[in-house]
């Protein structure tokens, strides 16, 4: 009985796949995936900028306490929404990677045009973090688990860890110690002193202060653990956006006027 059901489903899917359409072709796919990229990138970027942007703008602000705690929470929200939309519409486990790629373009256009060209800061001081490895791994979790609950639990952990590991490689050279005016600082600190940021911060400036510094290297592991917890919450905020604001309204209408 179960085999017969599977055969029927396979037959139905093959029929859909092989169906010849008169009006629908690949141009519609291209139109959707390209134009949706703008709003997806924008949503991911503004969520990141205003919830966690300051920590990502400058190398010396990519700290071990707030950057890795708040950033995974802020950046999982839109990928989670896209995971729901793309899984629901096409069974594509690609939403997080798609969002990460869109975010990559949005942030790098910003860094090159605004930070490099407009205010003339060196790129190795204002480089953006990447989320593409984290997106691929989180999509893999959805692909294997086929469950949003498991993805929220396991995927949030992999998102946070992959975010840290993939970006730590780029950050590490800037954390090397150096002598500057008879003080031991990191290379990133020297950059921060050398390039003047005259104005008050745009969004927030709570860069690594508090007693967690006393744990020295352990700081980052404590922060990663807490970041994962926050990320689970962020994942379900994203699910709300995907379910209630993007898919639920399809063919639903307010009272007639």
């Amino acid at each position: 009985m179960a085999t017969a059901t599977i055969d029927l489903e396979a037959l139905r899917l093959r029929e859909i796949g092989e169906r010849k359409y008169k009006f629908i072709d690949r141009k519609w796919d291209a139109m959707f995936w390209i134009t949706a990229g703008f709003v997806v990138g924008a949503a991911a970027n503004i969520t990141h900028l205003l919830f966690a942007g300051d920590w990502d703008f400058w190398t010396d602000w990519k700290d071990r306490q707030w950057w890795m705690t708040i950033t995974p929470f802020a950046t999982i929200i839109i990928p989670s929404a896209l995971q729901y939309i793309q899984w629901r519409a096409w069974r594509f486990p690609t939403g997080a990677t798609y969002t990460a790629v869109c975010l990559f373009f949005c942030t790098w256009i910003g860094r090159l045009v605004q930070w490099k060209f407009f205010i003339n800061m060196p790129i190795n001081f204002v480089w953006s973090a990447t989320w593409i490895p984290a997106g691929i791994i989180t999509d893999y979790v959805l692909l294997k688990s086929r469950s949003f609950i498991l993805t929220s639990l396991i995927g949030s952990a992999t998102w946070t860890m992959a975010f840290w590991m993939s970006n730590y490689i780029m950050l590490l050279p800037f954390l090397q110690p150096t002598k500057f005016m008879d003080h031991t600082l990191t290379v990133a600190d020297v950059q921060g002193i050398s390039y003047i940021r005259a104005q008050t911060p745009e969004y927030l400036r709570v860069i690594e202060h508090g007693s967690l510094r006393t744990f020295l290297q352990e700081t980052q592991y404590v922060s990663l653990a807490f970041g994962t917890t926050l990320c689970v919450f962020g994942y379900w905020v994203g699910q709300f956006i995907g379910r209630r604001l993007s898919v639920w309204p399809i063919f639903r209408y307010l009272k007639q006027y």
Binding site: C106, T200, Y253
Partner: protein, 236 residues
């Protein structure tokens, strides 16, 4: 390019005459330009929509949906410009150059051109759907939730500009307060922006309509196909 050319000589001191003519007047020009474009475009959609025939072919409906997707795409690009391109500039500018006015060179194109243009595009896209795609957005259906959310996002973003700048003006000069309160004042930009998730429902509704058109087309093809002829060859 205008900004790159005009910011450093004339864009940093809001008390100068040059700033008034080169930048403040740009606010007026943008608002007037967007206002005039909005009135003309919406009127054109409504006026030409009234003259359209009530019955039209499936091919024509598909063409209209394609134009509709173009308008959604334009709205999407505008959302990128207002929520990513200019906010990046805002961050870069305001963290490195001292601001002395709410009408900074980073704010002017973002808040007074692309934010109102977002409202124009979202409402204009609705008017297009309302007058050209009655199967999905016709008056008999009611007002769609998808557009309610998208238009709400664009309108509340404009409203949030006022609240945000008011917050800055209250706290500017009071360094401690600015540092803490500036954080919260920016969050509604994000929360309101999420409402634009309704844009995916627009794609969903119209792609489902396209599939319905394909089904109608296939049903017609079946109905008009010649009946199978009995075989004339002798059985082997």
């Amino acid at each position: 390019m205008y900004q790159a050319w005009a910011v450093f000589p004339w864009g940093l001191d809001s008390s100068t005459t040059q700033f008034f003519w080169m930048w403040r007047m740009l606010v007026v020009a943008f608002l007037l330009g967007v206002g005039i474009f909005t009135v003309l475009w919406w009127r054109w959609i409504l006026n030409t929509g009234r003259d359209l025939p009530q019955r039209f072919s499936r091919r024509e409906e598909v063409r209209r949906i394609a134009v509709f997707w173009g308008l959604i795409g334009a709205t999407s690009v505008n959302l990128y410009i207002e929520a990513s391109f200019w906010p990046n500039e805002d961050g870069a500018f305001h963290q490195t150059l001292v601001r002395d006015t709410a009408f900074t060179v980073a704010h002017i194109p973002m808040f007074y051109l692309f934010f109102p243009l977002g409202v124009t595009l979202a409402v204009g896209t609705y008017l297009y759907g309302r007058t050209r795609i009655p199967a999905v957005y016709g008056a008999d259906k009611g007002f769609p939730w998808s557009f309610f959310l998208l238009i709400s996002a664009t309108v509340t973003e404009v409203a949030q500009v006022a609240m945000n700048e008011w917050g800055h003006s209250v706290n500017l000069g009071n360094a401690g307060a600015e540092e803490f309160f500036a954080v919260w004042f920016h969050w509604p930009f994000v929360l309101y922006g999420w409402l634009a998730g309704g844009i995916f429902a627009l794609w969903g509704e119209t792609i489902l309509r396209l599939y319905a058109i394909e089904d109608e087309e296939a049903a017609d093809a079946r109905d008009t196909a010649p009946a199978p002829q009995p075989s004339t060859s002798a059985p082997v």
